[in-house]
Symmetry: C2
Subunit: 345 residues, 2 copies
């Protein structure tokens, strides 16, 4: 098949890929580089300090996360997507990665080619009601969980995220601890993770930036021995933490549209113990990469189901399901499906 001419529009908050962290930026980079590797003609609309094998169209030298004069950020994002839409006829399609909200909707009827969007959050029903002003604009959902929220919108495909399995390296023999990794919020289940550790008697390491919720609710339960706080870690520290854990605890209390830490953990060979919430069942393969429990008591009682999983098999399944190849293949298929529908009109 003909290679596609793709305008890939990144957020302009920071570089692609991000120097520190930024899941939207990371995902955008993985997709762009994967598309280029398959021979597609990709123009990445991103900040000038981005690193890519695609053709870079830099609207600004750097991102607004690093420059207080770049305000209001919405106007910077608008001009970046406008730069792509103004050149629409040079492309087969435009793919917009919406870090905050789907700005591309307002441009979708003004674009000469299909404008496809990936959202990176779980929208409220009020947001979705507004977006229904553009019922034809195609969204690629990041999970069936997220697709279920996009009622009345055009969601032709679901493509799960991927992780860079070259960088999330496999480790066969873990140390003797459980891991909680994620922001300290009630929704992420930090308290529940501590409860599971307490009941199983296995040590818990907790990694994330300190915040008020940590100081008020979590810190009093951290004794430095059975429950240890290791602070915020960089990329290498994160990979080391995953690899050393017997299991990642993911006792989610509020639905999320994906759950990237699950994919990262299993890529390192570390199985996951999760509660049934949000997109968890779409990411975890029961009995292969982890287990999904009904509640905290169930998780604590039957944690062995996760601890005894074959770590090499966990890694293999992670590579197959969350490696970049699968994601890029599925995005290309999703693009072609949108183009076909568009041409049939």
């Amino acid at each position: 098949m003909q290679p596609l001419r793709i305008a890939h529009v990144a957020p302009v908050a920071t570089a692609i890929p991000p120097v520190k962290s930024g899941s939207v930026q990371t995902m955008t980079s993985l997709l762009t580089e994967g598309l280029v590797a398959r021979g597609h003609d990709v123009t990445l609309f991103a900040t000038g300090d981005s690193t890519t094998k695609a053709r870079l169209s830099a609207t600004y030298p750097h991102g607004y996360w690093h420059d207080a004069t770049m305000w209001p950020w919405e106007l910077y994002e608008m001009m970046n997507i406008a730069a792509a839409v103004e050149r629409a006829r040079e492309f087969d399609l435009i793919h917009y990665e919406a870090a905050y909200y789907p700005m591309a909707l307002s441009f979708s009827r003004l674009s000469a080619v299909p404008l496809i969007q990936t959202l990176h959050h779980a929208p409220t029903s009020d947001e979705v009601a507004l977006w229904r002003r553009y019922p034809d604009a195609p969204f690629i959902a990041i999970s069936s969980e997220q697709a279920g929220l996009l009622t009345g919108l055009n969601v032709p495909s679901v493509v799960l995220h991927s992780v860079d399995t070259d960088r999330f390296v496999f480790r066969q023999r873990p140390d003797d601890y459980l891991l909680y990794l994620g922001r300290f919020t009630p929704g992420k289940g930090a308290l529940q993770a501590i409860e599971v550790a307490r009941r199983t008697g296995i040590r818990l390491l907790m990694a994330a930036a300190e915040n008020d919720y940590y100081r008020n609710e979590i810190a009093p339960l951290v004794d430095g021995v059975h429950v240890k706080y290791v602070g915020e870690v960089d990329f290498d520290g994160k990979v080391a933490l995953y690899g050393g854990a017997r299991a990642l605890l993911y006792p989610l209390q509020a639905a999320e549209p994906f759950g990237l830490v699950l994919a990262e953990s299993i890529a390192c060979g570390t199985p996951v113990a999760a509660l049934d919430c949000g997109a968890v069942r779409e990411v975890v393969d029961e009995g292969i990469t982890g287990a999904v429990y009904a509640d905290v008591a169930d998780m604590a009682t039957h944690l062995d189901r996760v601890l005894t999983l074959d770590r090499r098999r966990v890694r293999q399944r992670a590579v197959a399901r969350f490696g970049v190849d699968r994601m890029v293949d599925e995005y290309v298929a999703a693009y072609r499906a949108v183009l076909e529908t568009h041409q049939r009109r």
Copy 2:
């Protein structure tokens, strides 16, 4: 000449005209109704609870100032302007009244007809540097002061604001007080107004919403006799306050792009005493509608120059210079100038 087919895009924060206050909304309404009265074919893109003789294209039933679920407001504004741009071929031009920032820039190269913008604030140089990505997009400035800030942009015309001189009624004989009316901020010169009142021995009434600056800096100087705080007033209360004042004090400390209270005051026949700042000299006709002073001492010493002005003549000049007719005429001329330039390309 042929009537123009105009898409007039209002902010969608509240109704046009606003039920309570909102200078952008008021100005938008005055212009739209004035254009309709002259026989132009106007489509107003505004909230459904707006009142207009133009054709109303309601993107939403009401504005986001009144509905916390209408969030983020930027996306609501974007979709409202997009609704006009999507129908561009039905119009000769689109005129966007930017309450916050010139979102229309991002749409300007995608619009089939010229997209003209009126800004209602004084932009920073960083903002303007960003806007220069669109050097051809036409701005109509609200003062030469504002035009001077729009360096490197296309500013073919300056059109000063107007006030509804039917509603700001003339009063021949004032009471015996000076008036401060405006938000309590250091830039508006509330402290300086008190100083002038103290030095001249004339009573000062102060009207605006209470805020921290009022409580901390102004309230200690309010004695209820020589300096009296009358709170926040509605429209009728405002007109009554203007009419009863011997003069409006406008000792501005930070430049503003226009100064609507000046035009409102003189429409009521009440002359103004101002400091030379921002657009003040463009609004005040020295020796006719007021006086512009070098500093507070100068204002206090020579306040008589204002107090002795002929109030009927103040009103007449206000009607001539800030009546709606003048503004509408100038906007139509500005529209035609943009269209002529556009056609010559």
